[in-house]
């Protein structure tokens, strides 16, 4: 009796699976039958599955033979769609879909690569089709999904993978199979130094951001602001210690004196002694590297101790996360942070506003750092495929190497997109400095993109 119930339920489950899969138009119909087999394997011998996989293989190869101009160009997207970073991953998915929409249809008014005409023009207006895969933040799954998209979904290139740890293994799989891997967001400096041939990164990495902070300070010093000393205060895991270390290098290079390096344990309950050390060292500029909870505590301690240096210049992350300004309110005002993107850039770059209007109409949210970079990465890739005029991986790789997109045609504050032929890193990528003014971060540097006058020095707590 029980046995029958179990069987019945298993069958129902299988039916549910089939139903779900068939509602999903993106997936190819043939292999869609397969997952229904999975729950049923248990009854008989497990080896059954092998047979299917093997039958599938020749069929796939037949369809792979490329005609002169394919109707669609398939691009694999490996992102975190479930788990801790699901919100970011799904937002990125939306941004990719908008970029594909712009490539696939005619938007002559948008000054973006591939917008004016429909599809990949050189390939008889072939449509770009995105094949999404979820890596669940696991480096192993990231590599596995990349491999599957390349060998079974016949994608011509991969976009991935948000988290640096997953980009690491996923790009390794793409490298082995000889398919271009375009990385939109991962910022670990090690990624482009692996000597890979097929790895391209559009976003600037962490070392670039650290250097920018010192270029910003040097710019101010050249204008006559007196800045001599800096101090770092950082959380003591790798993110913070790395940041402090590179900041020390750049401080020396740009001629600033580091008067203190103060580490604190991430998630600490009290920061009084660290702030006391800062007061004793008395730097002109404080350079914090923190996650959001510590950033909140740090600012509250500054206020409680009535400590105001000339400026607080943060390494993004904790200080720019949405919940930071919401929580600290006016206490957060006048903090400066490096940032990858800000919506107020549209005042000097109207294209950002145009794209953001489309994006918010379609998905009911504004562009931010992650989505803007996803959007840009797909356009860069589509542009390369068009210039390659082919879906051959090697041709696309060559075209990517020859990429040269000017600043006006991207929605980022970058000077453009051009890849270093050795490392695949975008050499024109850069960031901005934002300052919290009236509870909102506004662009203050580079000066030509600024929407607000920089407030310097940091006002004392009783003079606000």
């Amino acid at each position: 009796m029980k046995r029958k119930i179990v069987l019945l339920l298993l069958t129902l489950l299988a039916a549910l699976l089939v139903a779900c899969v068939q509602e999903e138009p993106e997936e190819p119909a043939a292999p869609a039958e397969e997952p229904t087999e999975a729950p049923e394997v248990d009854e008989e011998e497990p080896a059954e599955e092998e047979g299917e996989a093997e039958e599938e293989a020749p069929a796939e190869e037949e369809t792979e033979t490329e005609g002169e101009a394919p109707e669609t160009v398939r691009i694999g997207v490996v992102y975190p769609l479930t788990g801790a970073l699901a919100a970011t991953g799904v937002a990125s998915q939306d941004a990719f879909l908008l970029a594909a929409e712009i490539v696939n249809n005619e938007y002559p008014d948008l000054n973006l690569p591939m917008a004016a005409e429909a599809g990949i023009t050189c390939l008889d207006n072939a449509q770009v089709e995105l094949v999404f895969a979820d890596h669940q933040m696991s480096p192993e799954i990231g590599a596995s999904e990349t491999e599957r998209l390349i060998t079974e979904e016949n994608v011509v290139a991969i976009l991935g993978a948000y988290a640096s740890a997953v980009s690491n293994t996923a790009s390794q799989a793409a490298e082995r199979l000889g398919i271009p891997f375009v990385n939109a967001q991962s910022t670990s400096p090690a990624l482009h130094q692996r000597g890979f041939q097929w790895y391209f990164r559009t976003t600037p990495h962490d070392a670039i951001f650290s250097e920018l902070m010192f270029q910003f300070l040097a710019d101010l010093r050249d204008q006559g602001t007196e800045i001599n000393t800096v101090a770092t205060i950082y959380e003591n895991t790798l993110f913070g210690s790395d940041s402090s270390e590179t900041q020390n290098q750049f401080a020396e290079q740009y001629g600033f004196e580091v008067v203190a390096n103060i580490a604190y344990p991430s998630g600490t309950a009290d920061m009084t002694s660290e702030v006391q050390q800062l007061i004793a060292a008395d730097p002109d500029v404080v350079l914090p590297t923190s996650y959001v909870a510590d950033a909140i505590l740090m600012m509250r301690t500054f206020e409680a101790q009535n400590y105001s240096p000339e400026a607080i210049l943060a390494q993004g992350v904790g200080f720019t996360e949405g919940s930071f300004l919401e929580t600290v309110g006016a206490t957060g005002n006048y903090i400066i942070s490096r940032e990858v993107f800000a919506l107020d850039l549209q005042e000097n770059k109207p294209i950002i506003g145009e794209v953001n209007t489309m994006f918010s109409e379609m998905y009911d949210r504004d562009l931010e750092g992650a989505t803007a970079r996803s959007f840009t990465a797909l356009l860069v890739l589509a542009d390369a495929i068009n210039r390659a005029c082919s879906t051959e991986p090697e041709a696309i790789r060559q075209a990517l190497l020859e990429t040269d997109i000017p600043s006006e045609q991207i929605i980022m504050p970058w000077e453009g997109v051009r890849f270093d032929p050795e490392t695949g890193q975008n050499v024109l990528g850069t960031g901005i400095m934002v300052q919290a003014l009236d509870g909102q971060y506004q662009t203050v540097w580079p000066f030509e993109l600024a929407t607000q006058e920089l407030v310097w020095p940091y006002p004392a707590w009783d003079e606000r």
């Binding site: 046995r3 999903e24 997952p35 011998e45 080896a47 092998e50 979820d134 596995s144 740890a165």
Partner: protein, 329 residues
């Protein structure tokens, strides 16, 4: 304990050997007929997790000590072989054994205090101790901290345990590892330690009264279990070529290692294998076909199946298989 032995002796499957031979032949021939990397990778994962599940089963299934901290052994194995490779250039084969031995040492450290605890308290102790190891590795800069370790790419060869042109060698290695663990488990079930394990599981007081040193045999079960889990970790590091604390020490990994034998059939020889053949493809295929749209539908389906088994056949799917075969005869 009596139950399983009775079924096996009173009703030996005449077709059992045949099925086994067919299965072995199918497994050996698999990479020859399937050339696509993804199904091969799936099979490698199945074999690896079957091995991990079986290693857990020695402690959790046969000796009855449910651990939810096996990720600690897995991670320590992965980190040991990787660090030995990166610092000393030691071949991963020796690294694998070293990784297993370090896992054994850790298991004895964890086991000694926590075997004084019973039932749920032992489970909690293993969770907590594994999390401590996880946090230590996350903050330990020498081993890469939170960023993890990228294994150096070496020329592909058996001695380097790296294969870049195809994953068939990984497949055969994982198959061999599983075969070894299966063999050891079989041996244990047929010899004195196995009987001791079961007696400890069924009635520790009675076992003690018969003069069995409970702690010693629990520690022994833990050591064997940890050794193979550590070896599995070292293999994983060589296969993925990148490890970080979140992927090798995560609590979810401990749960998965436990889930496989529990779902397949706890305390049975074939349960973990069956469990891996069901759970791993299930999680992969639900993710592939349902995961791309977001919304975590894949995980819902995955969870639903586990609940079904838990409700209708708590002894695992192997018990179901046995009943089907038993019924037909």
């Amino acid at each position: 304990m009596e139950e399983t032995i009775v079924t096996e002796q009173a009703r030996p499957f005449p077709i059992k050997t045949l099925i086994l031979l067919l299965l072995a032949a199918a497994l050996l021939a698999f990479p020859l007929v399937v050339s696509l990397p993804f199904p091969r990778r799936l099979m490698i994962l199945i074999l690896l997790y079957a091995m991990l599940g079986q290693a857990w089963n020695i402690l959790g299934g046969f000796a009855g000590q449910v651990s939810l901290g096996h990720a600690a052994f897995f991670g320590v194995g992965a980190y040991t072989s990787t660090m030995l490779l990166m610092q000393l250039g030691l071949t991963p084969w020796l690294g694998m054994i070293a990784g297993g031995l370090v896992a054994v040492a850790l298991s004895q450290l964890i086991g000694y205090p926590s075997f004084r605890l019973k039932g749920h308290y032992f489970v909690i102790a293993t969770i907590v101790l594994a999390e401590i190891v996880h946090i230590m590795f996350t903050n330990w800069d020498y081993v890469g901290g939170a960023v993890g370790l990228t294994l150096p790419l070496l020329p592909e060869s058996l001695i380097n345990l790296q294969f870049h042109s195809g994953n068939a060698p990984y497949y055969y290695i994982s198959l061999a590892l599983l075969a070894i663990v299966m063999g050891v488990t079989y041996l244990i079930t047929k010899t004195k330690p196995g009987y001791y394990f079961r007696s400890i599981k069924d009635d520790p007081e009675a076992a003690r009264s018969l003069g069995i040193s409970i702690t010693r045999y629990k520690m022994f079960a833990m050591a064997v279990s940890a050794f193979f889990t550590g070896v599995g970790g070292a293999f994983y590091a060589q296969f993925v070529l990148y490890i970080d604390p979140n992927s090798v020490f995560s609590f979810m990994l401990s749960v998965l290692i436990m889930l496989i034998p529990v779902l397949g059939g706890i305390g049975t020889l074939w349960g973990p294998v069956l469990g891996a053949f069901i759970l791993i493809p299930l999680s992969e295929f639900t993710r592939i076909y349902l995961g791309g749209v977001g919304g975590a539908l894949d995980l819902v389906v995955y969870g639903a199946l586990i609940m079904l088994v838990a409700i209708f056949e708590p002894r695992g799917i192997w018990a179901l298989v046995e009943r089907f075969f038993g019924g037909r005869k």
